[in-house]
Each structure stands twice: as C-alpha cells, then as structure tokens.
C-alpha cells in the first residue's frame, strides 16, 4: 500500500488485475527439482546458491504440513506456479516500464509517494522486481537498496555470509519452500552511522492466478545506522488460491536501529505464510510494525532475537479478520543476553464471523539476567459470530527478570456508542471512531501519510458493518 491521495486513488478498485499474456516466463504448475534448477538458471546464480536451494527442497519434502494454527488444507502444492517473470529486466525509470504494469502501480499511488515521501522504492510483480530506485542523497553514503537477485550479484560475499543464517531452511516447512524457490525481495545494506531519514518502500503484488510469491528480504543495518523499511502487499480478485510465503532476515548491528513495517492487504484468496526474524546485537533496536488486514489465512510471527547486551525489541501487530478470514499472528521474543528488553503489543479485530488469534513466545534464557518483557494483547469482537483466541507462552530460565502478560477481549461498549451517538454522530461513524481509537497506539508508530491511509482502510473495512 502506498499513499493514495484523492485523484490517484480514483482509478483503482480492490482486486484489479491485468492479463499475464506478455509475461516473459511462466513456469508450469508444480514443484520439482527441474523447476528449481530452471529458476536458478534464469537468474544465472552461483553454484552454492543452487545447492542451497536443492538442499532446502529436500527439507521441504521431508517436513509435514503444520497441524496447528490456520487451516492449510486449501493449498495444493502441485497447482501452484512457482516462478513468473513479468518483464525482461528491472527498470530504474518508470518510462521504461511496460504501460500496464506502470498503470497498476500508478493506480496504487506508488509513483506519487515515491516523489514525495520515500527515500527509495522497489516494486515486485509476481516473482520479479520490475522497478527500483534510490534517491541520490542516500546512495552517495553507500546505502544499498537492491532486489535480492541484484544483491546476490553485487555482494555475493555478504549474501553468502547471512543467507539462511537466522531463518534456516529447516526452521519450518514454508521457510524451506522459500529457500528452495525464492525470487525477488529486497537487499538492504546501511553503512555504519548512516541515518536513512525517509522510509524505503517495497511493494509486493501478485497479479497472476494460482501462483506463488516467494520473496526473500535481507536487511543489514551496520553499527549505529538507522533505517525504516516498509512493505505493502496486494493482489487481485481470483477464484483460485495463491500462496505468498516470504522470508525476511534482518541483522541489527551494535547500536543500530531498524523498523520494519508491513501493511498487508492481500485479496481474500491468498495464503500468507511468512517467516520474519531479526538478530539484534548490543544496544541495537528492532521494531516490527505489522498490519494484517487481507488474505484468506495468515500465519506470521515476527521475531526478535536479542543477542547483545542491552538490545531492545518491539513488535506491534494489528490484525483484522473479516468473513472467512483467519489471522493467526503474534510475535516471538528470544532473550539471550543480559539487560535486554522487549515489548509486544497486539490488537486484533474480528468481524463478520472472522477469527483472529494471537500466538506468542517469550523466552528468557539463563544468561539474560535483568531482562524485561511486556506483552499486551487486546481483542475486539464486533459481532457474536466472530472469534478471538490468545495463545501466549512465557518461559523463564533465570530469576533476575520481569515478565508480564496481559490480555483482554471485549466488544464495542453500548455506553461508548451511546455517548458518541448522543453527540449527533451516526452509529456507523461512532463504530469507526471506536475501532480507530482501539488501534491508535499502533497507527501512531507509522509515518503520518501511512497513518492517514491506515485509518482510511479501517473505515473502508468497517463500511456497512452494522447488521
């Protein structure tokens, strides 16, 4: 998602798509060693990466489907197309981008946002990044904002060092799948001491039906540097299900800071199964802001591994589950070093029979003395058919710690509604105000333009919700 002010917003309807007839390559449905070798050959990759992919494919085959969380029975790995290449190259000027591709991203407001409020942009359509830019102000300090494929070509030694390091292929079935067939995603490197003051934005879009998007993102924030990376996700309306399974690995060095924001508004036919994890060194800080509104089913638990003394982690997550949606989201905080602290705030809204679940893990290891953790989960149920679950686990292995967990489940209070309506506000507007107020703490963490857009999206989702 990007900023969509007035006019530029007008042309886009949620669920639009264009024909895939001009795509440069579409792989046949199904997964085999041949498909993996084909992807690797297309990308002209070094041999070690192909070996990593094949090894991951073996792990993928050996792991059973997860039996917990959301219902994954609708995924048929044989019907998915694993690699779709929309254009020959990645472009650095919108003029070179094929018109129908450009039009799609223009309708979504990316072009306008790029000029005004972003330091750099990547847009990915199905399997490949089709457009990329980085403002000169940052590139001259040595900031790298590349597609993962470019990153592998330009910095093979960095990629080799960090690839699969914090999310190993054996972590879970979908991390293994990603490691086997990954394509696209971003590679970000921020040199020591550089503060990238404007956000970097990546935009992921699935355009083809029954396809899989497996982006791979690696962000390395060197000592004392600072960066905010935002990803937006949407997809068109098709009857067949598609799969989005990304892996994000972030390395926050000593004293560095990274914020990673996801605004996920997939169409309601996408399985969204993402593994994202950050490794934080001494006095570093990692913030995940995670907004999940779309998709059919989401399983996503942003994690912070606090490995250095005094490291901090924050996970702020919002989930909205409507009819036929299950948002199984949460967070993990693994404390390995002393004086580390983490905060997890989760707000979920269930409506129209939707189900939202918080699933979290807090683990404080034997060496993490004087560490603190706070978890707050609030859930709002908007009607009697909807469902909310909370599944937290707190594990503590030393005595000098403070761990707190709180959760509440409630509905919109009649007294709250009555108060607003007695001021002449309609019931629908009153409900919108209360829901926006419920998630305000999280929205405040976004840059202003995104916060405004987020409030609009919530309003849009709430439209006509009075039964």
């Amino acid at each position: 998602m990007a900023i969509r002010n007035g006019a530029s917003m007008a042309g886009y309807k949620h669920g639009d798509s264009f024909s895939t007839a001009d795509y440069k390559h579409i792989s046949k449905p199904g997964l085999s060693e041949r498909v993996i070798r084909e992807i690797s050959a297309f990308k002209d990759e070094p041999e070690w990466m192909l070996q990593q992919r094949l090894k991951a494919y073996e792990i993928f085959k050996s792991k059973p489907m997860p039996k917990w969380g959301v219902d994954l029975s609708g995924i048929d790995f044989n019907k998915i197309r694993y690699y779709l290449k929309p254009t020959e190259d990645q472009f650095s000027s919108w003029q070179d981008v094929p018109p129908e591709v450009k039009e799609t991203f223009d309708k979504l407001g990316i072009l306008e946002a790029e000029q005004k409020v972003l330091a750099g942009v990547k847009t990915q359509l199905d399997s490949e990044v089709v457009y990329g830019s980085l403002k000169n102000a940052w590139s001259k300090y040595g900031v790298e904002f590349l597609s993962m494929d470019e990153g592998l070509k330009k910095h093979p030694e960095l990629v080799k060092e960090y690839f699969n390091k914090i999310v190993p292929a054996a972590d879970n079935k979908f991390a293994a799948l990603n490691a086997a067939v990954w394509s696209g995603g971003s590679f970000v490197y921020v040199p020591p001491g550089v503060d990238v003051k404007l956000p970097l934005q990546a935009y992921f879009r699935i355009n083809a039906q029954s396809s899989g998007q497996f982006e791979r993102t690696m962000i390395i924030v060197d000592e004392g540097a600072k960066v905010h990376y935002i990803e937006g996700c949407t997809a068109p309306n098709f009857s067949a299900n598609s799969l989005h399974s990304g892996v994000i690995e972030i390395f926050v060095k000593k004293g560095a800071q990274c914020q990673y924001t996801t605004v996920q508004n997939w169409y309601k036919n996408i399985y969204n199964l993402v593994t994202q994890r950050a490794y934080v060194e001494e006095a570093g800080k990692m913030v995940w802001t995670d907004f999940n509104m779309g998709s059919k089913a989401t399983m996503k638990y942003p994690s912070v591994v606090l490995a250095g003394k005094g490291a901090k982690g924050e996970v702020l997550s919002m989930a909205l589950a409507g009819a036929d949606q299950h948002q199984d989201t949460g967070a993990k905080a693994i404390h390995l070093a002393p004086y580390t602290s983490s905060t997890i705030i989760s707000k979920s809204i269930s409506k129209g029979g939707g189900r939202s679940s918080y699933r979290g893990l807090v683990s404080i290891g034997p060496k993490a003395h004087h560490s603190k953790n706070t978890v707050v989960c609030d859930a709002l149920l908007l009607d009697p058919e909807s469902r909310s679950d909370t599944y937290p686990v707190d594990k503590v292995f030393n005595s000098q710690v403070e761990v707190q967990h709180e959760a509440t489940v409630s509905k919109i209070g009649d007294d709250q509604l009555f108060y607003l309506m007695s001021r002449g506000i309609s019931e629908e507007d009153a409900r919108k105000m209360i829901v926006n107020g419920f998630i305000e703490d999280l929205v405040k963490k976004l840059p202003l333009e995104y916060a405004v857009e987020m409030n609009r999206l919530i309003d849009h989702e709430m439209e006509g919700s009075i039964g």
């Binding site: 599944y391 937290p392 707190d394 005595s399 707190q404 709180e406 489940v409 409630s410």
Partner: protein, 152 residues
C-alpha cells in the same frame, strides 16, 4: 459462589454448564528442591451469564520447575459471561524454571474476559524497605513471599 481449590499437578477441567453459575478457582503452589509441578486448568463456559475468577500463584525455588497452563473457553451463545485468569510466579532461583501459558478462546462477543501473567523475582525496593526497618534479608524475603501467597 462455588469455590474450587487446586493443589495438585495435572489437568483440571472446570465446566460452567448452568446459566448464571459462578465459580472461584484458586491454586497456590510452592516448588522447591528438584520438584516438578505442572498444572493445567481449563475453564469451559457453556452457558450464558456465567462467571469465573481464576487465580494461580506459585513460588519457585532451588532447581524446581513450575508450569501453569490455563485456558478459558467461552462457547458461542454464552452472552454476558465474565472470566478472569491470573497467573503469578515468583522465581527465586537462577536454576529454577518457570513457564506461564494463559490461553483464551472466545466465541461470543458479549463477554468480559481477560488474563494476566507475570514471572518475576522479589522487588528490590520492597526488600530494601523492610531491611531498612531492621529486618534481616531472610526475614524480609519470608514476609514478602508470605504476603504474595496470601494476597487476593
């Protein structure tokens, strides 16, 4: 209000089947030496206007292990029900291990439901206050632990 006391490891299922039923559940545990205590409490609301108040407290010493797993389930059509689950653990040794899992599964919107869990050591300030009044460290610790176990 029905009162239920839990004092053993194992799985405890508490069902609220009659409309308007109210129950208070309390469990207090002290684990020491190499003890392993594993308590699972399931509070299952199956009727409207039911109320449950659950409090689990534990003190963990030496090389002992304590695990609290609580689950509140509220079925559909159980409007106007309330359920609260509190799990508090004092972890007094670095060799001990504490785990708190407070789960919620809520299938009705017209409910009040919350849970809270905490795992911590004695508050240094509390200790300091009592010791500044002339109590030895041991006495002060004993007072605080007793207070923790008795408090509602």
């Amino acid at each position: 209000m029905r009162k239920i006391e839990i004092n053993k490891s194992g799985r405890h299922l508490i069902e609220l089947k009659n409309p308007g039923e109210e129950v208070e559940i309390v469990g207090v545990f002290e684990a020491k030496n190499k003890e392993k205590i594993d308590v699972e409490v399931i509070i299952h609301h199956q009727a409207p206007r039911t109320l449950a108040n659950t409090t689990l407290k534990g003190v963990v010493r030496d090389q002992s292990q304590l695990k609290f797993k609580g689950l509140i389930t509220i079925d559909p059509n159980c409007g106007q029900s309330s359920s609260f689950l509190t799990e508090r653990i004092l972890l007094l040794s670095d060799q001990a291990h504490a785990e708190a899992i407070p789960d919620l599964e809520i299938l009705t919107d017209d409910v009040k439901c919350s849970h809270a869990a905490s795992i911590s050591n004695l508050d240094e300030e509390h200790l300091f206050y009592l010791m500044s009044r002339g109590l030895s460290k041991k006495q002060a610790e004993k007072l605080i632990v007793n207070g923790f176990l008795e408090a509602k």
